[in-house]
């Protein structure tokens, strides 16, 4: 809940370790540079600045860091960074395409108590996965990485990006994950930001009615059929009542998160890569505590969300909980952090948003 008297703690940092990636994913909202080697181009932040930012952030609540990218394992000093965070008692989660994971890396992750590793896999068919991810051979490497992680006992998550053509892959990937011993699967519909815009222009995204059908099918059939945790990422206001009652849903804790981009830029999250208006400083020169306390973007966000959310998000009875789903996506589409989330807006425009969940 927002209030000027509330003290906001910075619990989590999304750390974009590099803007390079060894894949060319068709939907990526960060739009990293394609690059296979591990040498950076000289503009990635120095670990010394990161250490200072982490130490400062710990004073205002930091206890968790998510390492992402680009592909985080392209970063030369990722092992040092993981080791440092572990020594600081920070919970570390990693998002990766899985292609660079080998036995040596697994040992490092285990030795440093990494909390969770999420690997992207979108299809059981190598051709479909590789067409989507833009690089030949990446399917085999991703499955191998996923398998090594699951076997190691590290908490492993499969992340599937959903679009029209791979809907039929959902159960196949749930089944594979279940058999491999993966702990959870998260299914994210493509978003219309970054390269994802083209999916919407070509109408390759999953339509609203199908999103709801898939959600109900997952909740009514797959969840009981498979032991693995399955999360389908649509806003809480669109979920079934049974799901809201009984399941833990993913919700963005936007009041407790900040992003650090690969060049050290402090931003709302990864959106700062493309929406530079949301950048708030740089860890090389700015004190993250000062940014967190006084940056006008964050201050406005704390006042506006959820009370000044616009459109259907402002009328939704879940607005205090959902906070307008992904605010970065809303900004990317409209230039406003208060605008409605596009999926709920579409539902409302089509008369499909449940009346029972709207404030008159």
């Amino acid at each position: 809940m927002n209030d000027k008297n509330v003290c906001y703690t910075l619990n989590s940092i999304y750390l974009y370790l590099t803007d390079r990636c060894n894949l060319r994913c068709r939907h990526c909202w960060i739009e990293p540079l394609y690059y296979e080697g591990r040498e950076d181009n000289g503009d990635e932040f120095d670990i010394r600045f990161l250490k200072k930012a982490i130490e400062d952030a710990k004073e205002i609540g930091l206890n968790r860091v998510k390492l992402t990218g680009g592909e985080p394992f392209l970063r030369k000093d990722i092992i040092d960074i993981i080791g440092y965070l572990h020594a600081q008692n920070i919970t570390v989660d990693i998002e990766t395409n899985g292609t660079l994971i080998d036995k040596d890396i697994i040992e490092v992750l285990k030795a440093n108590g990494v909390n969770q590793v999420s690997v992207s896999l979108d299809s059981m068919t190598s051709e479909q996965h590789e067409t989507f991810r833009g690089v030949k051979g990446c399917y085999h490497d991703a499955v191998k990485g996923l398998s090594l992680l699951a076997e190691s006992g590290i908490n492993t998550q499969l992340i599937m990006t959903l679009y029209k053509e791979n809907i039929s892959e959902i159960e196949r990937l749930v089944d594979l994950s279940s058999r491999m011993g993966v702990n959870s699967i998260k299914i994210n519909p493509v978003m219309p930001t970054g390269r994802g815009k083209r999916f919407f222009e070509k109408e390759e995204n999953v339509e609203f009615n199908d999103l709801i059908k898939i959600d109900r099918w997952i909740e009514e059939e797959l969840v009981s059929k498979y032991k693995i945790d399955i999360h389908f990422d649509i806003p809480v206001g669109l979920k079934s009542l049974k799901c809201i009652k009984t399941r833990q849903l993913f919700e963005c804790n936007i009041f407790n998160i900040i992003g650090i981009l690969s060049d050290g830029t402090i931003s709302l999250c990864g959106i700062g890569q493309t929406e530079t208006d949301l950048n708030m400083g740089n860890i090389a020169v700015d004190d993250i505590r000062e940014v967190w306390a006084n940056n006008p973007i964050l201050q406005k966000l704390r006042v506006d969300i959820p009370r000044n959310l616009e459109g259907i998000c402002g009328r939704c009875i879940f607005k205090f909980r959902c906070r307008g789903a992904c605010r970065a996506c809303a900004y990317g589409l409209t230039g406003s952090l208060n605008s409605p989330f596009f999926v709920c807006h579409e539902a409302y425009e089509k008369g499909l948003f449940l009346e029972s969940r709207m404030i008159n």
Binding site: M1, L241, K242, I244, K245, P306, I317, F318, K319, F320, R321, L354, S356, R357, I359
Partner: protein
Amino acid sequence: MEEYLKNIERLSRNTDCIFREEEDGAFLFDPETGNLKFINNMGVNIYQLCDGKMTVRDIISLVSENYQDISSKQIEDDVKVFLRSLIEMEFLRREETQHE
């Protein structure tokens, strides 16, 4: 310890809050505080009985009629816990108590 909710008390629904029924229950939502609670069908019945006229005892009696296989003490405890949670979230308001 003093009892939180007395049998003679009367409760009324906070009309500033939003009550929305769905197939298997309903949501209560306070647009001012953001408080949100899901209640099942039995909870809906109890909530709707809180009209400012019925006493807590009346409500417990009506609920007991539908659950004769459950002890009246158990029902009283469960109903009072439920009502307390709605009072604390300000979905229900206590009326001025008149002594019997």
